[in-house]
């Protein structure tokens, strides 16, 4: 390669690199602005939207927590942990026969379970609302937990089943010869081998439940039962122009998922690229 060519490709590289950096700034800046503005006084935010706060006002975070975010946070934590645990257990149980057993109609069962991935929760909003009222669980934690589990099962089962299909079968064969029951085969042998995909599934399920908005808006009436996404929506009107407290509330709501993502990036990426399903 001649020198001139090298110079040109170096120029192109720098140019493209600059574009990538610019785009990174567009992504990062609003998030940083959210975190930093949460430390400002309202006046500082007005006069100098770009500037750094004169001193860190932790009290905004404290006020945000006290004015409701704390309560919503605990609600979200409860709803998310129950939904994720139950989803994982039920999906793993379901994936086991779908990946191992041979029986008539297996494909139909597979289609029923995994086909649920394609159905939008929006379509069921009205009828679920009515169904939950009839089941007398409307406006309780269960009005969220049960639909969340149902809508997470198809994708979670899909992920776990693909993983189970890829596992070697020698260990089960010898366990079977030792007279293991099907339950012990599943619980003591196969499930422990599925830890990586269970972790991935748990993360993705936690993310979708933690962030879910529409069901949480419609199936809960009582403000003390609200989860974070709807809770902070209501804070907006309570706080009216107390922007900086609102920004602190937003930061508190977003941080758990950002931290989980940064720590467990590998598991996130694996799950998302296997499924290619959004939301």
């Amino acid at each position: 390669m001649n020198k001139e060519h090298n110079g040109l490709s170096k120029f192109i590289f720098m140019f493209v690199f600059l574009l990538l950096i610019t785009y990174s700034v567009i992504i990062i800046y609003p998030l940083l602005w959210m975190i930093i503005s949460g430390f400002k006084t309202n006046q500082e935010l007005f006069l100098e939207p770009w500037g750094l706060p004169a001193k860190l006002l932790w009290s905004n975070y404290k006020s945000a927590w006290d004015v409701g975010v704390g309560k919503f946070f605990v609600n979200s934590l409860f709803v998310t942990s129950v939904s994720v645990t139950v989803t994982l257990f039920i999906s793993a149980c379901c994936a086991f026969p779908l990946s191992r057993y041979e029986f008539k109609g297996q494909n139909i069962f597979l289609l029923i379970i995994i086909g649920g991935v394609m159905l939008a929760p929006q379509v069921s909003l009205i009828s679920l609302y009515k169904l939950l009222q009839r089941l007398k669980i409307y406006n309780t934690y269960w009005a969220l937990i049960i639909p969340y589990i149902a809508f997470r099962i198809p994708f979670t089962t899909f992920l776990i089943r693909s993983y189970m299909l890829s596992l070697p079968r020698e260990i089960e064969d010898s366990a079977y010869i030792d007279g293991c029951t099907s339950w012990r085969l599943f619980w003591n042998i196969i499930l422990p081998m599925c830890k990586p995909i269970m972790a991935t599934s748990a993360l993705l399920a936690a993310m979708s439940v933690w962030n879910e908005f529409m069901f949480a808006l419609v199936f809960i009436e009582d403000s003390t039962l609200r989860t974070i996404p709807v809770g902070i929506m209501n804070l907006r009107s309570t706080l009216s122009t107390n922007w900086t407290i609102l920004l602190a509330a937003l930061t508190i709501s977003a941080l758990p998922m950002i931290i989980l993502f940064i720590v467990f990036q590998k598991q996130f990426v694996r799950g998302i690229t296997q499924g290619g399903v959004k939301g």
């Binding site: 690199f17 929506m233 959004k278």
Partner: protein, 294 residues
């Protein structure tokens, strides 16, 4: 293994999942269609059979067409940015010279998609805010003061402002799907293209794109379906306003059901959302099937 032939045990293992999925996913869809044939309100037990009246009304409802248009706009812009830009970004990050920076850019670009739409929506409401917002402040700094705007408060820009937020959030997500697809392309294809003297852009057009056709299809379908069921962004940022200028199908359904208490009409709109997303999915299945057979 004989143990794996016991159908009863198999069904026992699947039973909880089946109950959940059938009772809370499939049954509500059928029930929704039935609900759309009745006039009813959420607080009374009275239901009046009206047949397909609501469907007729929907077809002559101007707001339905505004919503449909906004959903379509959402889909088109999202395909251009999420699929188009996402694909190009992935190809650039997979270039040899960029690979050592890939993890950093990937992490940054993907990050917004793990945050809830409510947080992002409320944040961008402040970014677009005419008084304290970053966007107008930025325009002033770079001397484009004439462009400053009440972005979400005016009906000619509000829809675009919402859609732009959604692009900000999800380009990185689609990019990730492309990254993995590009990583699966055999290196030899690029090597032989190099021998033929192809430059980076030619390699992208003649090697990369044909190899990731399937991913392009899948991401486009995901994006279209996502655009026709969008709710959170609109509800959080404008609730369909100003006027009805940012109404989409799902927000209109919510308004019909829970604001105007016309549950039957809301169920009708839900059926339309179902039909659109279902047809798009069928097209995807058909196209991928034909591709696999060819």
């Amino acid at each position: 293994m004989n143990i794996y032939r016991n159908k009863k045990v198999a069904i026992l293992f699947m039973l909880p999942a089946l109950v959940f999925v059938i009772l809370f996913i499939y049954y509500p869809i059928i029930q929704n269609f039935i609900y759309s044939l009745y006039r009813w309100s959420s607080f009374s037990e009275v239901k009046v059979f009206v047949g397909f009246d609501y469907y007729k009304r929907l077809l002559s409802d101007p707001i339905f067409y505004i919503a449909l248009k906004n959903n379509a706009l959402y889909a088109i812009i999202s395909i251009v940015f999420q699929v188009g830009v996402g694909m190009i970004l992935a190809a650039v990050l997979e270039e040899k010279i960029m690979r050592r920076y890939q993890t950093f850019f990937r992490t940054v670009y993907f990050m917004p998609s793990v945050i809830s739409i409510t947080v992002v929506g409320l944040l961008f409401q402040l970014v677009y805010n005419p008084n304290i917002g970053l966007l107008n402040a930025f325009l002033k700094v770079v001397g484009l003061e004439t462009l400053t705007h009440d972005w979400l408060g005016r009906s000619d820009t509000a829809m675009f402002a919402i859609i732009a937020t959604s692009q900000w959030q999800y380009i990185g997500y689609i990019m990730l799907l492309f990254l993995v697809a590009i990583q699966k392309i055999p290196e030899e294809l690029y090597e032989s293209a190099m021998i033929d003297g192809a430059n980076a852009i030619q390699k992208f057009i003649h090697v990369t794109i044909p190899q990731i056709k399937e991913t392009i299809l899948v991401t486009s379908i995901i994006t279209i379906i996502g655009a026709f069921k969008v709710f959170d962004e609109v509800y959080v940022m404008t609730a369909g306003g100003p006027g009805r200028s940012t109404e989409v199908l799902a927000s209109y359904m919510y308004r019909a059901g829970f604001r105007n208490d016309e549950m039957g009409y809301a169920a009708t709109i839900a059926t339309v959302i179902f039909l659109i997303t279902f047809i798009v999915t069928l097209i995807q299945l058909k196209v991928s099937k034909e591709k696999n057979e060819a």
